[in-house]
Amino acid sequence: MSEETLNITLKVWRQDGPEDRGRFETYQAENISTHASFLEMLDVVNENLNEDGKEPIAFESDCREGICGTCNLMIDGKAHGPEKGTATCQLHMRKYSDGDTIVIEPFRAASFPIIKDLAVNRAALDAIVMSGGFISVNTGAAPDANLTPVPKEAADQAFDAAACIGCGACVAACPNSAAQLFTSAKVQHMNLLPQGQAERWQRTEAMIETMEMFFGSCTNHGECHDACPKEIPLDLIAWTNRDYIKSKNKNRKLAGQRG
């Protein structure tokens, strides 16, 4: 492993608060180790800003292992940066060359309002889960775990959906700011499992309609999948569309044709 350092020019979106006008500011990140992660590079920049009496850039991160979904940067026009299947925190500076210029923006969508600089509010994603992203089983009411065998295929497919880390990159990358990949992952995780069947149609209808309160509609570009750090399959969107159309009729029947 060779130890090298890089000098990078950063153009970073700075915005004082939700209502303020933002602007790009240019910073130099000097002597950055190629082993540093992208966020560690920003840590260094912040340390220097603090030293110069300028307020550090607000950006969010937590686990820095690519699983919590807190980090969210639009790097050179791509959600989570150039590396496929990688969250911002797992992007490393060895992917860049000395003298590069990197543009950093927050994830943007009307329902992801900016809190400050690069930090945005993604609570709308929680609202989608709140409306139906669960299996209603009170603590203690569960039967033995092996009572219902789940075919391995179904379990694996459900897992592919459940791998979503809720970072919002799909929304950020979508030219329509649609949250269809996120919602489909959440819906299908449970719709694909036997445990999730009782509430399947109600869940699908409620979650989709909550999604439509906050986000745009899908026009099948596929950008979401390319931005997704967990590479959630696009097929889930099709399955969810089918379930949704069915749900309208099924729920009507479940409600005794009352429409």
């Binding site: 550090p56 490393h92 669960f134 603590t139 789940v150 459900a158 809720g166």
Partner: protein
Amino acid sequence: MIGSLDSRLPAGSADNIQDAWTNHKFSMKLVNPANKRKFEVIVVGSGLAGASAAATMGELGYKVKLFTFHDSPRRAHSIAAQGGINAAKNYQNDGDSVHRLFYDTVKGGDFRSREANVHRLAEVSVNIIDQATAQGVPFARDYGGLLDNRSFGGAQVSRTFYARGQTGQQLLLGAYSALMRQVGEGTVEMHTRTEMLDLVVHDGAARGIVVRDLITGDVTSHSGHAVVLATGGYGNVYYLSTNAMMSNVTAAWRAHRRGAMFANPCYTQIHPTCIPSSDEFQSKLTLMSESLRNDGRIWVPEGMDDSRAAADIPEGERDYYLERKYPAFGNLVPRDVASRNAKTVVDQGRGVGTLKNGVFLDFADAIARDGKDLVASKYGNLFDMYERITGEDPYSQPMRIYPAIHYTMGGLWVDYELQSNVPGLFVLGEANFSDHGANRLGASALMQGLADGYFVLPYTIGNYLADQLGDRPMDAGDAAFRQVEAEVNEQTNKWLSTNGTKSVDYYHRELGKIMWDYIGMERSENGLEKAISEIPALKAEFHKNVRILGTGDGLNQSLEKANRVADFFELGELMARDALAREESCGGHFRAEHQDAEGEADRDDENFQHVAAWEWTGTDSVQNRHTEDLEFNYVIPSKRSYK
């Protein structure tokens, strides 16, 4: 001192541990369903323990308020657990039982935990798997569609349930979904991006908390009949750990300052297989699953300061030190043994990598024996992760690994009902000290968090609340709350007006170095005394010379960190004192003075078979050490040996 260190073990648990929890549940007071809605409970933290407790109490009908500093409850650090969760299901028919899980956990904890607590944990472990499966947690399954298990360190049976390498995320998503259902139904009131900054204790009981809204900077008070802390561990006191960037001790520590006892702070767990740090600005360490040691061989060069590439070092000049010293267990010795030996060879100057801060974990033999494809099918995603972080290909050159702080067994003292010595203050999960003793077994952290949240607290809190029927919670506008709010605001203003020269991170890094050097894997009297003198000096400089820019009325990450690091300074000093007072080696606490001729831990059951619980006595005085004696009636203490 508020309250007492009465563990309130169920009567007769010494003679009949099997029925202790069942009997205790029957003996506890109940709150009838119609009355539950009259009780308000505050929960702080939304990880496995906090989310599961809030969801379950919401289902029962209590009015719950949940506070988390995350933007969504799903981001709590429980999410990062990789390996799995233990449960005594015995689905593999290999002789597992509640008693065996109980036995393994007590022994693995090096006989420093309460038998009755651990037995209860083993009992409810089976319910956790049922609950999680019903919630849709996609555990691994075999081709018959039934749940699959794997074995994990410290156990001879396969009892670990797992969901690829992200069991923590899947279990947390299960608890989070249950929580969000209750939020939707209105039984749980959610406060995201809201950080607890103090506990309000009045008339000898916990009455509520004071919080800061991280977006608006507003400092407000919330009162309830009881306060539940589920705020995680304090591994970040070391700066570099596998904990998340925001993990901190603040909520627990502020409770400690208000009278809650802090127990066994020196018990910290080191994970042997992490990726070593690569430079000064490394912000955190990444854990690689321990399963890698099943096929990888650990070695360092024979000679000092050997900078040759691994491939250029001939077989004869390599030291497979674990295989050499522990022929029976070889590379599979327990975490603490593997970690300490890595430190020994690195301290000798035989470390590998540019910074000489790691040891090799070599898969060349496994690849030669099983072929690259089989190795890739077992460890492919781990190898990819390693390559992404280090830029090195573990198929062609050995991995570099080094131990890192990973989990903290110590925490706020709680009794059998998970109540601290402050009445009305309950502590769950990693934030309490209870079930792991001096060392935690792999795949037991998730089990404990969920056991506390789903199946213990919802019962035991009723026993406390039942007596308060008819009492309203204290008014959050009361003078007691105003007073605490004023203190919080004053502290905020102090940070913002300190106007020093160095960042919070700088001091955190410096503190971490002291912690790692003197209170890390191996502790000595000299080192600990050095730490006890250096930490307060650095802390004083921190308070005088830290620079926090911006304002208090909006998002200000430096300000948030300052509060947390200030508490780490006080905690760090207490950890050193606790380690110094514990004149023995046990579990995650290894004192250089207390080892046998072969360098193994030398436990002192005669003098230290107890819990050390520290009582806060003021900012400028040393905490008082209290003890709670431990009794072992079922698992008789013996010396651990892995030769």
